[in-house]
Symmetry: C3
Subunit: 163 residues, 3 copies
C-alpha cells in the first residue's frame, strides 16, 4: 500500500481544471505589470488575451458585440493572466496567503443599462476560488466603462497578500 499523498497546489488545481497558464504579458505602456509593497502584491490591469492576441474585444449589454457568456469568459481569461503574473513574480503560487481584492472593469454599451456585472465577474471569481481554495476568498470591485484600452471586454486587477 502506498502512502504517497499528492500535494495539492494552486498549479495542480489549474491543471486539473484544464487550464494552462499563459506567459505573463508585459505591460502595454510605461508601467509595471505588478508591484509588491510589504506583503501585498498589486497587479496592473490584465487583458483577455493570449500571446498578444486579444480573445475578447467589444462591448457587453444590449447593442454591444458581446454576450453575457462572453463576459464571463473574458473575465476568466483576464484573471488567468493575473494568476500568470503572480506565478512569474512568486515562483510558486502556494506563496499566496490570500487573494485580498479582485477589481474588474467591464466594457459596457453606454446606454444599455446592463446589469450583468456580477455574473460576468464570476468568471474571475470562480477561477480564483477554484485555484486558491480558502486562500482565494476575496473582496471585489466592479466598474463598467464605455471605452477601454484596445477596446478589450474586460480588465482584471488583483491585490494579493503573499508570504
Amino acid at each position: 500500500m502506498s502512502i504517497y499523498k499528492p500535494v495539492i497546489t494552486p498549479e495542480s488545481r489549474l491543471t486539473s481544471l484544464g487550464f494552462e497558464l499563459p506567459d505573463a504579458p508585459d505591460a502595454v505602456s510605461n508601467y509595471a505589470p505588478l508591484v509588491q509593497s510589504g506583503s501585498i502584491v498589486y497587479t496592473s490591469g490584465q487583458l483577455p488575451w493570449i500571446d498578444g492576441e486579444l480573445k475578447y474585444g467589444g462591448q457587453l449589454g444590449q447593442g454591444g458585440e458581446r454576450s453575457d457568456e462572453d463576459g464571463y469568459q473574458a473575465c476568466r481569461l483576464s484573471a488567468l493572466n493575473a494568476v500568470a503574473q503572480l506565478k512569474k513574480h512568486l515562483g510558486e503560487l502556494s506563496r499566496v496567503k490570500q487573494i485580498v481584492r479582485v477589481e474588474g472593469v467591464l466594457n459596457v454599451k453606454c446606454d444599455s443599462r446592463w446589469t450583468g456585472q456580477p455574473k460576468a465577474l464570476d468568471g474571475a471569481s470562480d477561477l480564483i476560488n477554484a485555484v486558491f481554495g480558502e486562500q482565494g476568498r476575496h473582496s471585489r470591485m466592479v466598474n463598467s466603462n464605455s471605452a477601454m484600452p484596445l477596446d478589450c471586454t474586460s480588465l482584471i486587477y488583483i491585490y494579493a497578500e503573499v508570504e
Copy 2:
C-alpha cells in the same frame, strides 16, 4: 453628584444621529463582503438597500431618474451598509483606527455631463466623519458609470485600518 461619564463610541454616535445599523448584507455573488489582510480591511461594494430591498435604483444626471439629493441619500445608505460590514467583522466599531479610503461608484446618465459627484459622495463622507470622528478622516475615490449591478444608484467601498 454622579461621576458617570458616558463612553462615546461609533455605535453611540450612530444612535445619536438616528441611524440603525442594518444587517450586514451578503455578497451578491461568488465573493466575500469583506476581507482583512494585515491591519487593513477591504469591503466589497455596498448597495443602497435594506433587507434586500433596493432603496435607490436608477441614474443621476439630466435625463436620469434620480435627483442630486437622492444621490446623497443613496451614498449615505451604501456607507451605512459598509459600516454594518465593519461592525459584523470587528464586533466593536471602536476597533477602527482609521477609515483610510472611501470609494464611490455612481450610476450616471451617459451623456449628461453631470458634475454632482462630490456632493453625492458627501452622503458617505458625512456619515463616516460623524460616526468615526478623527478616525473617520479618509481619502476618497469616485467613478461615474452608466451601467451598474442591479441598476443601483451607488456602490460604496471602504478600506479601514483596524486594531
Copy 3:
C-alpha cells in the same frame, strides 16, 4: 579638484525637467487629500488644475473637446498635483520608497469607443518615472468615465510606500 557631488533628489529631478510643484490643493469636499496607514499613503483624486484654475476640462475621444495630446498633458498635471500632496505630507520626496500604484480616471465621450487611455496615462507615468527613478516603478489602473467632477479631463490617484 572638487569632490562635491550633487545629491540627486526627486525635487532636483523635477527642477531639471522644468517643473515647479504647485501648492498641494485642498480636497474639493468633506474628505482628506491624503491619508497614511502604516507605510502606505493613499491620495485622493488630483485634478489638472493650478491655484484652483482648471487647466484641462472636457472630454477625450471622437466628439469630445480634447485631443489625445491634451489627455497626456492633463494626466501629467494631475500627477504633478499628486506629487505636491506627497511633498506636503512627507517634507522630502526622498522619503518615498516606492510608488506602488497609479490610478487614472479619464473623461471620455460616452459613445466614442476611444482607446487612447494608455498613451494619456503615460502623462502621469512618464512624470513619476522621471522624478522617482527606480522608486517610481508602479502598477497602474485606468477607468474611463463619461461624467467627472468639475467636468475635469483627468483624475490621478497615487498609492505610495513611504519611510
